[in-house]
């Protein structure tokens, strides 16, 4: 093969599709050289479980971003959903003394509250014809404030003796939250690429007017995307509160919106919408996790980690723009 041929092949190669994966491989190799502890299975599993909570939220965020929107409220909603769920569970346990029932209803309550708040975001955006950024900026403030108010700005412990068990459980070497994230990614990847709804998501984000003229109910498509995000926030909340067996109204979910959006962007979904990738988003989340992990192991101040994260996001968007 001549150099010209090589160039031709390189030109045809779909960087766009594999850029985030290549970045992950490079980062992985680099990390393995930089720290002897990096490749230990315990460390790798640790990275995965750390990213799983924001990772599953970022899957919903990907759907929202594909429609051309954004959801800034996910972090506050984690705190709100968790709080309501745990309080409901404690109340039910106190009044009935039924352990299993309390846990199941507590989980159900968290998921319902999550979906409902997501739906509320979606309906406000579509019915009110408001910018997603504005609406979710508002609900971000509202739900954090409500959580702080209801929980007296403190920590609420779960009274259940079994609730804290599954959040830390391991199935086939991987913690439950990691399995949950991978399973959700599998499902949502199918939804995005194989179903009518997924096709509609891309159509709405690509050109809303064309979507309307193509007999697509644009408002419904958008509202469902926010509702799915709300449900995923609920699932993440359940796993988080189970892990700590408590919820801190001031700390839980803090900054999750940044990580979730960053994972989507680094994964290769453009902010302008119209297309996107679920597995890319997972890769984006893992990249963020590895960066955090390495900075910790290299002894970089925790306060500086935000700087690195911010620069990586800007860099990822810059590379995307070059490709387009």
């Amino acid at each position: 093969m001549t150099t010209a041929d090589v160039r031709q092949v390189l030109k045809k190669f779909e960087y766009q599709k594999y850029a985030s994966f290549i970045a992950l491989v490079v980062l992985f190799v680099l990390s393995a050289f930089l720290s002897p502890f990096f490749l230990r299975p315990g460390n790798l599993v640790n990275i995965m479980s750390q990213v799983s909570y924001t990772g599953m939220i970022s899957l919903g965020m990907a759907l929202v971003i594909i429609t051309g929107g954004i959801d800034l409220s996910v972090g506050s909603l984690v705190a709100f959903d968790s709080l309501i769920g745990v309080m409901f569970m404690n109340w039910f346990l106190k009044s009935t003394n039924h352990e299993v029932g309390a846990v199941l209803l507590g989980i159900a309550c968290t998921l319902v509250v999550g979906s409902a708040t997501g739906f509320l975001n979606g309906v406000t955006i579509t019915r009110g014809k408001l910018a997603p950024f504005i609406v979710t900026l508002g609900t971000m403030a509202v739900f954090r404030s409500l959580a702080l108010f209801i929980g007296n700005a403190g920590e609420i412990q779960s009274q259940s003796s079994i609730y804290g068990s599954f959040g830390l459980a391991t199935i086939l070497f991987l913690p439950v939250p990691v399995w949950a994230m991978l399973f959700l990614a599998l499902v949502l990847d199918m939804v995005l690429n194989r179903t009518r709804y997924g096709r509609y998501l891309c159509a709405v984000g690509s050109n809303t007017r064309v979507a309307i003229f193509s007999a697509i109910n644009v408002d419904r498509v958008k509202a469902i995307a926010y509702t799915i995000t709300g449900l995923l926030v609920g699932i993440s909340s359940v796993l988080l509160t189970s892990r700590f067996n408590a919820v801190s109204t001031s700390n839980t979910g803090m900054g999750y919106e940044l990580d979730a959006i960053a994972a989507v962007i680094i994964g290769g979904t453009p902010m302008t919408g119209g297309r996107g990738t679920i597995w890319g988003t997972i890769i984006g989340a893992i990249i963020l996790g590895i960066i955090n992990n390495m900075l910790n192991m290299l002894g970089v101040s925790a306060y500086l980690q935000g700087t690195v994260k911010g620069l990586v996001i800007i860099g990822a968007v810059y590379i995307q723009r070059q490709r387009a």
């Binding site: 179903t195 009518r196 096709r199 007017r209 003229f213 193509s214 007999a215 297309r275």
Partner: protein, 502 residues
């Protein structure tokens, strides 16, 4: 010997080897109002865009005040003193009148800050000269359409324009506002400015212009003093070509009425539109740009809300609040704005053709797409419509306009509609693609499809339609049928020279 301000010598322009202007020689005389008329696509706007630096000609020369000049970009034209007032206003809504007038050439104080007082005073002066009553510090968004136009003119005059080009300035104005505009134009002329007035409203051209140039298919057909030509002669020369395109033979529509529209009214947009459409019939909606034809389509589709009126399908009244309802009732739309509301350029051929009818390619409660079924259908359309594409997975941005249009048509008829509203179905496509689109629509009609055919091109209206409703300013001016569908009749009705039986 008259004083020639601007002259073009053998100006030609082609877009990817399709000629839109052919050896155009125009002389613009200082101090005149020159009318340029022609059908859509005759080349009027292209010529003006060349003079104002938006396009550069493929060949030819422009002389301004006797000197050969090169106008490569709008700034060059501005420096020469040529100002174009475009059809779409170029004003920033959130800014004030004086901000807009001085946009890009702001006056500044010595310390570098904006000299708002001076700009306001100068704007006031200009507005005074034009005899227009607008406050210089009013925001554009608070102005009426006519007032915005006055600001555009003010902006053009502020740079001491020697030549003012107005592209269809009256499309959006009421008669009262048109009178104001005409007075203003005459005053500008009497003050020594030269104006070019582009329009296809012939009565207005007759009223305001000193001379008129008639363009057709990129050629100058004639140049006349306005007193030497009647409005009817202008209309005939504008359209007067032979019907040289081959249209498929018309077949006879069936008797069954599939769509009935009664007294459809959207205030200020369309007024009292009623018609019946039979199975297999092709009903034309003719008229000039802005006559309200697309708006009729949008109202039937539920994109615009009708204040009064009913829509009946097979004799039963239906409620259509959005395009999804229209599709559910067997009404499909082929958009005039291909990239704006017709196709998704970032989607592949397959994904576009199935977009409206995606539900029929899905199974299970989760609506999983049956990809092979979807592909087979797209493949069939591609063969039937002779769509030239590398593969079915090629994104539409890589297809030519004609092929994009065919995909758009395939998308519209994939749900197997009973009624197809085809809005400018051949806009921006070449002759061979045009003929294929005619053939396809005709074939579908012969199989029972009822079609509302909206077009600005008279000859395709005549070649394709069984009946034609001619519209002007949102109203039906008359209905032509069979042999009475002629270019002259359509033009008379569309320009309001004659009112027919609606």
């Amino acid at each position: 010997m008259s004083d020639v301000l601007l002259a073009t010598k053998d100006i030609s322009k082609d877009f990817s080897s399709v000629y839109v202007l052919n050896d155009i020689n125009v002389e613009v005389i200082r101090g005149e109002i020159l009318g340029i008329i022609g059908e859509n696509g005759a080349g009027k706007s292209t010529l003006m865009k060349i003079l104002s630096g938006v396009y550069t000609p493929t060949s030819g020369e422009i002389r301004f005040e006797g000197e050969p000049v090169e106008i490569r970009e709008p700034m060059d034209a501005k420096k020469l003193g040529i100002s174009l007032i475009p059809q779409e206003f170029n004003l920033i809504r959130e800014l004030t009148v004086y901000d807009n007038v001085f946009l890009g050439s702001e006056l500044r104080q010595k310390n570098g800050l904006l000299d708002k007082k001076a700009m306001m005073a100068r704007t006031q002066e200009l507005l005074g000269e034009l005899n227009v009553d607008i406050r210089p510090d009013e925001r554009i968004e608070n102005l009426s359409t006519a007032q915005k136009q006055m600001v555009e003119i003010c902006k053009a005059v502020s740079v001491n324009a020697k030549l003012l080009i107005m592209d269809e300035p009256t499309t959006v104005l009421t008669q009262f506002e048109i009178d104001i505009l005409f007075r203003l134009m005459r005053r500008l002329r009497d003050q020594g400015s030269t104006l070019i007035y582009i329009s296809h409203k012939l009565k207005e051209v007759k009223a305001i212009c000193d001379r008129v140039i008639i363009l057709r298919d990129g050629n100058i057909i004639s140049t006349e003093k306005i007193d030497d030509i009647s409005v009817i002669e202008m209309a005939q020369r504008m359209v007067g070509r032979e019907l040289n395109q081959v249209f498929p033979a018309k077949h006879t529509p069936e008797d069954m009425v599939v769509l009935e529209v009664e007294n459809l009214t959207v205030p200020g947009v369309i007024e009292n539109i009623s018609f019946k459409l039979r199975r297999g019939e092709i009903l034309g909606l003719a008229g000039l740009v802005g006559a309200g034809r697309t708006e009729v389509a949008e109202t039937i589709l539920g994109v615009r809300k009708a204040e009064t009126g009913r829509i009946l399908r097979n004799g039963k009244e239906v409620t259509i609040a959005r395009p999804a309802d229209a599709v559910a009732n067997g009404i499909s739309y082929l958009s005039e704005d291909r990239q704006g509301s017709g196709i998704l350029t970032s989607f592949s051929v397959v994904k576009n053709t199935s977009l409206v009818s995606l539900g029929s390619y899905c199974k299970y409660i989760f609506k999983v797409i049956l990809r092979q079924k979807e592909r087979d259908s797209a493949d069939e359309h591609t063969r039937q419509f002779n769509i030239k594409t590398q593969s079915l997975d090629t994104r539409l941005e890589f297809l030519s306009g004609g092929n994009q249009q065919k995909v758009s048509l395939a998308k519209s008829i994939d749900p197997k509609p009973v009624v197809l509203i085809a809005d400018e179905p051949t806009r921006g496509v070449d002759v061979s693609a045009k003929q294929e689109i005619y053939r396809l629509i005709n074939k579908l009609a012969s199989e029972g499809l009822a079609c509302i055919f909206i077009s600005s091109e008279q000859e395709e209206i005549i070649g394709m339609c069984h009946r034609v409703i001619v519209m002007k300013q949102g109203r039906a001016m008359g209905t032509l049928e069979g042999k009475s569908i002629t270019e002259e009749e359509i033009m008379y009705l569309a320009t309001g020279i004659r009112e027919g039986v609606a």
